[in-house]
Symmetry: C2
Subunit: 346 residues, 2 copies
């Protein structure tokens, strides 16, 4: 895909040259970043805060398909996905390390695009890129991101703190990233069968963006702090609402009641799911990759969030013995099951 | 390689099941580990110390060859290589995250072996495994390790602090890992040509171990502290003595004189290099993967290390204008060049 344009071979730069080339414009911004790239390890200072660490591995053909993921978006998403885990602890992300393994089919320009996307995400979220590793790969493209953040001890929201009677809340809307993926997959198949047909994604910007360029919900963490809300439990929705809710209930030794008619769905998600013959609720429950925040709050905090368009109460926490279930639009009760994405399945 | 033994398919466990299975026996030991695996991010507390972070990506066919690297050793080495960067800052390693991407050709037993090796290294070095990511891979085996450590601000040894007149020291001996690799490569070729021939590695344990099971030099960091030595600059020798020394000189804006006859070589390294028609000095200069510590100290600290068998003074730091050179055994002067390993080359 780069063969007709400028093409600089990475082997001509070498590993040190490549790292130097990619990182020369990086300026550290976070007060906790003492030393970034350029030594054996980065040096960070978190004073009296607790340090948060999260890591993700993204592999070509498993987590992304380069036939429809632009490289800039890939770099951007790789960072967002990882920052999301820090926000899901109710913390502030402050640094990342960003490693790339890539085969010789990629010229320097391709790595630059991935890096540009990553750095754009860093800049937007006030995060420093402080280290990484860059290597040849015999196979496909490999990206590994580790994010580092901090929080006051009393602010940290674990999965395990949900209490009976707590309200279950979710930010934004769900299912869009999954439906966007179906759309991209369909257009890919059409393209593979007939490369002269242009992809038909008109009017579908929102769900395509949900898939290709998700945003970690730093704003929700800030909003909760501004309103003096400490979530009793919190996670990000990476594997689907159902799987995450079950995680919280299991870790908290609680049950839950979820209301189908409360699950926030964007109209475009709803319509496109229907076009594909999919149940929009199932897309929200099992689709994943929305990177919204799922959290529980005491009922006494309800007044603080009730006017907020970006937070929806979707159910409440029960005792463990009551199990985890969803009340459907027609009033039936269904047990929640974890059908989260299994990367090891075929 | 696992087909005739017990074989549990990873897809039957799923990602969550796999992580739970692999991590259930992990107990956190480091005082700074507040929360490890099992939430969106790990939580660490470094009090008033500075936090150190380093990361490495290891890819099948580039960094290791499964035809001669046992999986336990691979897990062990992946951790050592990364901890080595923390020690190279004169810090104490305290946690790692450990991520694996692997194709369906690997059964659960294979992942368990990698993990066992990693956990054995953690235990030996008093390091907690606090997170990671486990994913299917369409291609080969991918391992990503991030290590976290701490140090007092005044103890941190950057690459940039070498002063004119400082002594250049190195721990242990050099070149062994590279010569060990040549031996393994030769036996692999013989095996590929005639699988009935058993590998002939007798009497070569030391250099094979240098390649397959390197040890990060935590003991040297402790020894320096016990003797109240603060290295003015320090790095670990991962890309070869020459490349690392040039890094220190460049970062410190200094030059250096290295004495060939002072470079510590194990007799087995020397003899085996000769067998292969290689110059043992070149193996030490450009071989890499020894994971010894290369550091500079003021001349006034010489008395503190001179009796130590495990530390060798190999040269001294000069002004930048003098350049970086090696005085050969015959008294000739050669400029040092970075021929460190270029993973992007062919």
């Amino acid at each position: 895909m780069f063969d007709n344009k400028e093409r600089t071979e990475i082997k001509d730069l070498g590993e040190f040259g490549l790292i130097e080339h990619l990182t020369k414009a990086i300026e550290l911004q976070a007060p906790s970043s003492i030393k970034g790239i350029g030594d054996d390890a980065a040096v960070l200072d978190f004073g009296n805060k607790k340090t948060l660490i999260s890591t993700d591995l993204l592999l070509e053909g498993v987590h992304f398909d380069l036939r429809y993921v632009p490289l800039r978006h890939l770099g951007y998403k790789a960072v967002q996905v990882n920052l999301s885990d820090i926000y899901a602890m109710n913390g502030t992300a402050s640094q990342i390390t960003f490693s790339i393994g890539l085969s010789s089919k990629f010229p320097l320009e391709a790595v630059e695009e991935i890096y540009e996307g990553a750095l754009y995400a860093c800049k937007k979220y006030n995060v420093d890129l402080i280290g990484g590793d860059t290597s040849a790969s015999k196979q496909g493209l490999v990206i590994s991101v580790t994010s580092i953040g901090y929080a006051d001890e009393e602010a940290i929201a674990y999965r395990s703190g949900a209490q009976e009677g707590d309200l279950i809340c979710v930010s934004g809307d769900l299912g869009g990233a999954y439906v966007g993926l179906q759309l991209l997959e369909r257009e890919k198949q059409i393209y593979l069968e007939n490369p002269s047909i242009q992809p038909d994604l008109e009017g579908k910007d929102y769900i395509i963006e949900r898939q290709l360029k998700p945003e970690a919900r730093k704003d929700i963490v800030e909003l909760l702090a501004e309103n003096s809300i400490k979530p009793t439990a919190m996670m990000d929705v990476s594997d689907g609402l159902s799987a995450e809710l079950l995680h919280i209930c299991k870790a908290s030794d609680k049950g839950c009641k979820l209301f189908e008619d409360k699950i926030p769905l964007d109209p475009m998600t709803y319509e496109t799911a229907r076009e594909f013959g999919l149940d929009p609720t199932v897309c929200a429950l099992n689709g994943g990759e929305d990177y919204e925040l799922l959290f529980t709050i005491p009922q006494s905090d309800y007044d603080k969030i009730k006017g907020n368009m970006d937070i929806t109460v979707i159910g409440y926490v029960t005792e463990a013995a009551a199990g985890c279930s969803m009340i459907s639009k027609s009033g039936n009760v269904y047990p929640l099951t974890a059908q989260g994405w299994n990367a090891f399945q075929g």
